[in-house]
Every structure is written in structure tokens, then in C-alpha cells.
Point group: C2
Chain length 402, copies 2
Amino acid sequence: MWNPVNAMNKALMLVLTFYALNACAQEQSAAQTSLDLVQKQVFTTRDFQTFNGQQIAEVKVGWEAYGELNAAKDNVNLITHFFSGNSHAAGKYTDADALPGYWDAIIGPGKTIDTNRFYVISSDTLVNQEPHNPMVTTTGPASINPATGKPYALDFPVVTIRDFVNVQKALLDSLGVQKLHAVVGASMGSLQALDWATAYPDYVERVISVIGMGAADPWTIAGLQQWANPIIADPNWNNGNYYDGEAPSTGLRQALGMVTLQAMHPLIFNQAYAASGPREAAPLQDIRANFVVVEQLNAAAQARTTYADANHVLYLVRANQLFMAGFADNLSNGLSAVTAKVLFLPATNDLLLQPYMAKAAHNTLLSLGKESYYEEIEGPWGHLDGVYSVGQKSEVIAGFLD
Amino acid sequence: MWNPVNAMNKALMLVLTFYALNACAQEQSAAQTSLDLVQKQVFTTRDFQTFNGQQIAEVKVGWEAYGELNAAKDNVNLITHFFSGNSHAAGKYTDADALPGYWDAIIGPGKTIDTNRFYVISSDTLVNQEPHNPMVTTTGPASINPATGKPYALDFPVVTIRDFVNVQKALLDSLGVQKLHAVVGASMGSLQALDWATAYPDYVERVISVIGMGAADPWTIAGLQQWANPIIADPNWNNGNYYDGEAPSTGLRQALGMVTLQAMHPLIFNQAYAASGPREAAPLQDIRANFVVVEQLNAAAQARTTYADANHVLYLVRANQLFMAGFADNLSNGLSAVTAKVLFLPATNDLLLQPYMAKAAHNTLLSLGKESYYEEIEGPWGHLDGVYSVGQKSEVIAGFLD
């Protein structure tokens, strides 16, 4: 049966794919070849001490890498992932994969972050949004608590961006890496990248913060809370104890619908959802009927719930709300230890983490006498320009990495 | 007992009041005197035909007026209210009132909209957000359906901005008014103002659209839906049938919390909620603990639920989603009948109805050869600059009304 919502979503996917491929195409050069097929690996560490003073008996995270680690182990670029993302930053797992990792446009042989030169490594964070994704390994409230044999639920400690960094540090330690050429991340990944330079200043030579911030402000804390609210309000959430029963899927869908919407900008959104509008007949006649755009957004959000866990979303929200690079009493003190040079690449049309946030962190570094650079990514995507339009800054990034 | 949240909200109220009074102060001139105390009146009309072809047996709305209707009845300015507002646009009901109506800065004797010259009238809309406010009279899903003796709930017909206009038209007809010097409204009020000029072009001489739009786009439809979602997801909502039981107060609070947040801009929000930040101790230790800003926003939203009805919010959301001035197949055709001259005053920092929307309507009018003007209100408030900073455009408004 022909389903208008499916048909529209297919049309939308075409638009999105067009833009993504277009962004990729800008990056193509004659010198490029493809990455070899990528393999996901798993790193385990035990008795992990959290920033808030608690302990996690066993932490497992997935990771993948592109290129070769050199003998001196000093050619490493670490890629840190965004809120809804995972360690799949580039390449494909199989030739049949529809799309490569999210930053394939700039990571690969002969590309901006050149895997002929660099060993590029990326890991899943703690409390990753998608613990049920077969290609993700993470530890969080959906993981089994060895003390009880049941999922932690809300007994899992609150974790911070610093904890994400410390898990990555343990992974790199296990590989014998003692220096990072650069840490590069978008959105929540940018938080990890900047915090790396405060936590391990001797370790980090360069930071690239794409669509990022130096610290959450009240606006951002309140805005992120909107993503938590529908989960907490869902009766199936049951104070986090739903692993034996029905999951809070309505709350999770509403949360991920907001993430989907707010990561975009009207410029692209109105183009992608142009089939919908205020003169639709059904919503005029029936208060229960939805606009096509609402059905489409619901379907997109529903699809995003497949591998997601509601408690993990709550913990991710919290980790972002708690963020101040350096975790000192203010941002200036937090950044005072930084020795890395830093490049900020916010997106002009970003409505989620507006450029003023990256600007504030940049200006704080400059006021401390640090080396910091700032350029804005232009584009119609809003926050997602940090993913889809990053190729626009290839030369700046390549120059910064040189 | 000292309550930090109450204390903070008091501090916030002080900041907000300071800005509001400051905006008022900009408007003071030696020639001004105060409005006489204002009286709320009630208008009733029967067998009201809705735009979608249904009928409402009895419609009652509150209204108030400032100044005197002249003998020719041609000195009338109609003020149309915003989503969370009502007909209280200026003056006080009693000397003890803490604050006057929302646009008191520009409405009154000797002020921009000079009640020594104009008869200024304002009415509550259908499905007003606050049917339980003793100073509001409205008809909507919380009203008693005379056919059943029970609240309409979702049996109330979907109503549109055109229906709001038609109720106002019936009210003005009852007063013998046959010409409007101007229709002036902010946000949802601007939708009514512009639609007036398409529905009754011979009737309307001037339109002032403050923080407005010409038509809802997919972005706005999807954004408004976020306000409906927590209500629909609240189990107490019960498909709209909660008048005999417990109201969906959690959903309503979450909805009005979003309205509160999204009507502002980080510039003012971070100043008003500066007591909160990412380094708070409780949220770091306990996933169930809230940031101070979240508690404050919840308390503010809770206060806004006092007189509100959840179904009314759903119907208001729908009325805004369905809006296209003129209700034709496209905006250009909808605006083609306009003979009024139009002034658009969007706010530069508005994140809710961004200036591109007013600009599009303005450009459409120009392309049709109509008389249209466009200026932006600057300020830190975002969408609320249309309320708190409108005094900035006093001269432009006064000139336009002359």
C-alpha cells in the first residue's frame, strides 16, 4: 500500500543524501583513495573512577581506527563524537553499507585528515545514546550492574564529559600512545576535545572544536532539559526502572524528535519538508489529525529510537549540562592549563549551540594569552552544518593540522 | 522557610520588572496622563459559523476599551493579543494592580497610540489559553457545550485565526463600527491583524504586525507541535476528556515551560538565570537532582498553568499552525485583496518567529504593489522584544498611524 509518510520520508532522504553527497563531493580530489573496510573493536577497563567520586566496576566502549600508528606513536588524531553519534567517523564496515561514517568527507587517504599520514582513532562514549545498536559498545544505565546482575538504571553514576575523556585516555594508554597530534570533535565531541586540552595539557597539541562551546550556560542547560522532560514525564519511565517492562517509547520519541528539529535550521527544514503547509485539509477539520510534517518528524524520531535507551539520553543530557571545560570554578580558570592551540569552527546558522558560545571560549583563551583561531561555517543546516558542511573548512583544518 | 527557588524567582521578577518599567519609562512624556481604570466587558454572539464549516451555538469573549468612540465611529484601533495573552493591553483594573496591561508603554493618553484621539479596543480570542482566569472570557473546549451540558473537550470545532477575526468583527458590528483606523498586534496578534486586512479589506486602513508572520511554514508548524506534544503524551489528558478528573498538569507545565523559554533569547535568559550554572553540586551527584535554572523555569511554568487549560493550548497551537493570511492557496493570493498599508516590526533576536517570516510577508506585499514598511526591533529579549521593547519604535508607529 502506498504510504504518503514513507514516500515523503524517502523524498526527504533524497534531499538529505544529495546534500551529504554534495558536501562529500566538494572534498574529492584526484589523490584520494578509499579507506579499507573498518572494524569495530572493544576496549575494556576496570574499576573506573568517575569525576564525581564514584566507581564503575567495568567499562566497555567500542572504538575504530583508520590509517597506521607509526613507530613513535605520535601521529594520532582522536575524533570525539556528538550526542546522537558513535565512533563511526569514517569509512564503511562492508561494501554494502549505504553511507560511510559521518565525517568521511574529511577523514581518509588523501583527505583533510589524511589517513596516509595520521592514525585516526574514535571511540564510543560512556552512556552512548544507542546501547542497542549492534555497532556500538557502551557502558551506562542499560548495562548490567555486576553487583546485582540487573541493569544499573539510575544507580549508574552521573558521568561527565571529563569521564568520557578519561575513558579515551585509558584506551590510548592501552595502545601506548603518549601524545595526540589533535583532538577533533563536533558538538558534544567538541566538548570532549576542549576538555582533553585542560585535563591532559602535555598530551594534546591541537584541538578543533566544531559547533561547540566552552561551558554550558543557563540557556543551554534549560534547553537540554527539554529533551529530558518527555522521558521523565512518560509513566513507562517509572523512575528509570523499565528494563523488565515496557520502555518509555513515547517520551523517547518526543525527545529525539526535538533533537532532530533543533539540530536543523528553517533554511533546510522548510526545503526538506516543503510538502507540508498551513493549508492542509485534515488538521483544519480534526484536532486529532496531524500535519504531514509532524507525521514525518514523528516517523524520523521513531526510527531514531530503534537502538536508543531513554536513561542513556537522560545521562547524556546531564553530561552536557554539567560541562565547563577544565571543570574549575569558572571557564578562565578551567582553560588556564591549556597549552594546545585551538581552532573553533561554529556554524553561523546554528540555533542549538549558537556561535556566541564558541566565541566566548575563543576570547577566553585569547585573554589568557593562548593560541586560538575562530572561523564560522556557513550553510543552511544550522547545527548540522558541523557535520554536513565541515568540508567547507578543509583548507583551514588541514593548515591547522600541519 | 527560606526557599531558594522562590527567592530566585523573586530576583528574576525584579529583573523582568526592571526591564518592563525601563521600556515604559522610555515612553513617558510630559503630556501623558494615566488611563482611567479599565473595565472588562463581555460580548456574546450566537450560531457562530466557523471557517471550517461548523457552528458554535454561543460564543462569549471578554473585551476592554480605552479612550472614547467618536460620533463618526471612525477613530478605532483594534489590538489583537498574543498566544499567552488576553485583551488586557493597557491600563489597570484597580489602583492596586501590580502591573498594567502588556502594551501600556504605547497605549494611553498622550502615548504612541493616543487614547485622547483613538478609541482603542481589544478582545479575548476564542480558545484563549486561560479560560479559568477571572479576567478572561473565552469560548473553547473547556466551555460547556449546550447540547450536552458538559465541556466540549475535543468536540469543539478546530478554529483558525480567521475565526478570531470574525468574532472581533461581530463585536465591532455590535458597536456600529464600520472602519478600523488600524489593527495592531504582536505575535499571534499580528496574525489576526494581517488577516483582518485580507478578510475585510474595505474595513481596515492600517495594519501593524509586531513579531509576526504571513504564514506558518513547516519549521513553525513542527516547532509549535513541540508545545502540544507533552499535553498529548500526558495520560491524564485522556484524549481531551479530563474535565471530570485530574487535569494533565504535567503536560501543561512542560508545554508552558517551552513557551516561556522559546520566547526569550540567551542574551536576557543568561542574565536573568545567572545564579545557575554547569558547576552546581547536586546535579553532578544525583541524576534526579535538577539545576537551579530548571527548578526556576518549572516554577515559572507551574505558575502559568494556574488559569490555563490544556485543550485550549492544543487549539491555540492548531490555530497558529493553520495560519496563512487570506487563507488562499498561497500567501500571494491571500494578500492580493489587501488595501491597508502595512508595517512589519519583527525583532532581530527573535528565535521563535524569526525576522525572515515578516520579511517574506513584506516582500510579498511589495511584489503585489501594496504599501508595506519593515523595521526591526533591537533588543536582548528575543521574541519578547515585541512586548518589552516595542517603545523603541514609538515614533515609527505614531508616524504610521498619522
